[in-house]
Symmetry: C2
Subunit: 226 residues, 2 copies
């Protein structure tokens, strides 16, 4: 479902060019569960943004379901981002003036779902991440781990074919993490594909394969150690 | 150095009152290293904000170095926040239009240190958290773990008598976490006091005592398991 070919990404800072991804080449088949690991600053979020069609590479190719993403128009990219991909951001990216329910329901607005059904599905999903009693809270009325779970619920609400989760348990205690990883496991059992960035070996152990980045290149790519 | 007495904190949401901290009473002596743990939403950040003089309780007392914080004027609170306390926020709270160096130097502006010395000390501190080559980057040009380290550097730059760190390693890989915890260990050896919120047992193991919150109350308070 994912195929990258010599993906490079660099940022210009004044006269300097910072190479952040260097010839990243790998594939993820439909239904795989992959952990992406590596030191802070190694390029994981940058790679995830490209996989999520939120950013484009400086050079190289990204094929999503066989299609070269650089050839797709913005309208099609928006449809893909909304209906095929669920993205949990490392910094959550919730809308501050909307409450948890409204934030989680947002992907369904684009999909043209009626308001009554949107709010019902958002409520169900929030319940599944343990936030049944926090639905009317806005982000600044939520704890760090609660905001993270709202971001997770928003990514899951469409039952996406591809879930991209950037450090989704970083602010969660172990019991709550288990609940979230269980939900991811269910999504995976339903045949969907998961790529999860994590710093924790025991979270990575839930995946079947670990890709490790170092300084923007793939250092290793193999089965998760059990 | 810290003494709380029946600390209560509640939030009003429309006609509901949400009790978030309930009769929290404990002491921390000078030079202690305490881990504060508990499930997501249990009140840790809310308690930390009160300890850091950033918020006041709904009822109860907080004595910092023997002085009832509720009796202090804003000018004195600002001086304490700036010169006696270092605070690492769960959400970093960096200034987006300033680069890493400027963000880290900020506490020294208030302390009246000259610009040349401020920037020198900020550079040294950034080097100690492994960000020597990221000093001119602004927050949106940094990875999640790099932003976290800038927030840590800003809290450490004054060598504060009291360090309050809210999940400071949540976005860091294990090698980088070790480096940060080593720095905290050095601050502690120099006689300073540390309270660190963490979800990770091995981070808590570096502290000498663990206070666990559940639903806003202290569930347990005892030595860290080694
Ligand atoms: N807009 C930008 N301009 C310049 N450099 C950038 C920019 N965005 C990211 N970087 C740099 O790119 C590198 C990779 O960033 P990225 O966010 O992908 O790291 P990461 O692996 O997700 O790290 P972490 O584990 O800390 O979240 C970092 O060194 C960062 O400083
Ligand atoms: N401004 C607010 N209005 C209403 N409720 C709030 C507000 N701020 C926090 N809360 C609630 O207070 C509770 C405690 O929040 P707090 O941020 O202290 O939790 P925490 O222990 O730090 O959690 P986490 O581990 O997820 O960071 C949460 O249930 C949260 O929903
Ligand atoms: Mg990242
Ligand atoms: Mg918190």
């Amino acid at each position: 479902v994912i195929r990258t070919e010599n993906l490079c990404k660099s940022f210009r800072m004044g006269r300097l060019t910072l190479e952040v991804l260097k010839n990243v080449t790998f594939q993820v088949k439909k239904g795989e569960y992959v952990a992406l690991m590596g030191p802070s600053g190694s390029g994981k979020s940058t790679l995830m943004n490209i996989l999520g069609c939120l950013d484009s590479p400086t050079s190289g190719h990204y094929y999503l379901n066989g299609r070269d993403v650089s050839t797709l128009r913005e309208k099609e990219l928006a449809r893909i981002r909304n209906q095929e991909i669920g993205f949990v951001f490392q910094t959550f990216n919730l809308l501050p003036r909307y409450n948890a329910l409204e934030n989680v329901a947002l992907p369904l607005v684009y999909a043209g779902v009626s308001q009554r059904i949107r709010l019902q599905r958002a409520a169900d999903t929030l319940e599944r991440v343990g936030l049944a009693d926090r639905m009317k809270h806005r982000p600044n009325e939520l704890s760090g781990g609660q905001r993270q779970r709202v971001a997770i619920a928003r990514a899951l609400i469409n039952q996406p074919a591809l879930l991209l989760a950037d450090e989704p348990t970083g602010n969660l205690d172990s019991v709550t993490s288990e609940e979230i990883l269980h939900l991811f496991g269910e999504l995976h059992k339903a045949g969907n594909t998961i790529v999860i960035v994590t710093h924790e070996e025991d979270v990575a152990a839930r995946a079947l394969r670990v890709i490790r980045l170092r300084d923007g290149s793939i250092e290793s790519d193999g089965p998760a150690r059990v």
